[in-house]
Symmetry: C2
Subunit: 326 residues, 2 copies
Amino acid sequence: MPPAGVPANVSVDVAALIGAARDGNARAVARLVSMVEDASPRLREVMAALAPVTGKAYVIGITGAPGVGKSTSTSALVGALRAAGRRVGVLAVDPSSPFSGGALLGDRVRMQDHALDRGVYIRSMASRGHLGGLAWSTPQAIRVLDAAGCDVVLVETVGVGQSEVEIASAADTTLVLLAPGMGDAIQAAKAGILEIGDVYVVNKADRDGAHQVVRELRNMLALAERVGGDWKPPIVSTVAVRGEGLDDLVKAIDAHRAWLESDGRLADRRRKRAADEIAAIALTELRERFGDLAHDQRLETLAARVVAGETDPYAAADELVAGVTD
Amino acid sequence: MPPAGVPANVSVDVAALIGAARDGNARAVARLVSMVEDASPRLREVMAALAPVTGKAYVIGITGAPGVGKSTSTSALVGALRAAGRRVGVLAVDPSSPFSGGALLGDRVRMQDHALDRGVYIRSMASRGHLGGLAWSTPQAIRVLDAAGCDVVLVETVGVGQSEVEIASAADTTLVLLAPGMGDAIQAAKAGILEIGDVYVVNKADRDGAHQVVRELRNMLALAERVGGDWKPPIVSTVAVRGEGLDDLVKAIDAHRAWLESDGRLADRRRKRAADEIAAIALTELRERFGDLAHDQRLETLAARVVAGETDPYAAADELVAGVTD
């Protein structure tokens, strides 16, 4: 029985679905990502079943303003990683991404080539919900692709507002893309991306002004306050549309990975990420449970006792809180 | 030993302080209000000790835009209530109030007369913190004045933004003040005060345009969507600076009180208010406790287990939440 085609939230055999995903069934992968995106009632079951079979994928975040060539670079990077024999997953958390069905035919055709490749899973996560919701489900979707055997998961995110920062916290290596004529490096400083990149990519390096962008970026990075110590983010020049500079980019990513893997930095970063994720889920759970209690008979009873002078609001609140985890 | 003069947050005998407040010691009252305002570590002890001796005061909220004569009206109302033999507390939750030390000498002198009257407690709550914090501590300060034997507590609040709505939820009877030439009744509609008043007061009724304000207000109130049913808020015209219309105002307040006290409406309103207060305190407690846990060793351990694939983030969040009420 194929796992795809089963109605949502009905009797899905989660173990069978994960088994099929691990065997390379793309529809099972898609189905699991959908369950994650839709916050299926069985999300917890899915996450519990995925836990023992995840943690192997390396996560690369790709961010940058619209127009810098993010999708073209992602596509080129997929090609380079596939040429090196790695299985690749792509999560496009960007409504303007061609992977989301919203852009240039050329890019779309290019990605369709990858789509026919059994070693690549491509998934848009921009079709529903707001970015906040996407940020929420992205780590879960990464786990699905991880369990499905992807060696590398590329997460392409829209380069505006908070989302770059969020993706930086979800990725092992974060690539920040710039291009000449896109407002240049000064804009990068304003957008706060000088703090989040592990590797900077100046794409469209054949265009006028590319050297200028590299120079300004280098100066600003030298001045930027960066946490996390002694990694000096390299600047790689590429012409992604022609595949130029891709080898340098892969080398820069591998160098960052090697740095992370020394001295336990990767494990530290992933523990920090997991802690943030657990804390966010726990806070949401508390809010939900508390929302229920605010309409609970218990609150009515406590309020009546406060009005009668039998207890005070603080003691009543303590009683209410004590009931939250029942 | 006088309760005032003891350093804050040191060995204060709360029971003795409350006893002194109930015996009419104004400094003990002031000290208790300060403990409430400052969210003293012993706030819970104070609230617990106050609970059995509160619930007798009737709370009147007074709101309206700056310039309508709120403080003058409050002062006149204090006089009228004192003349009727009632003990009165005043909480000025308004930075522009003369009770807060920020306005006309004439008003200040007038209130100083009351200040010499043992049957009146006057307290500004605007000297510290933001309005949100004031909204938080106001119900507690009302309990202090209640315990101190005030029959009526007047809460004067700044007539901008959310605060009128908050004060309406803290008061038994809410007075909304308007005056001619203050932008008139249309502005009242925009400010959302057509929903919250139990009694409307058109002050400065001797000025041009006063009849117009009354007429427009009457028309708009007839059209306004009001919750809580069959009370038709009366419109009272006053010239507070000369004490004109004060008898009518006191009668209107008493009529609303009689209406509230029939069919258990007052008890319902106070239970609703207590429930809101408990819920707000409980949510704050949860946030604080959770904030602690986010820096807890437990979260580190759970994060390491998630990274190792021994558990998933949702199960980890459940464990963390289970620890919140320990």
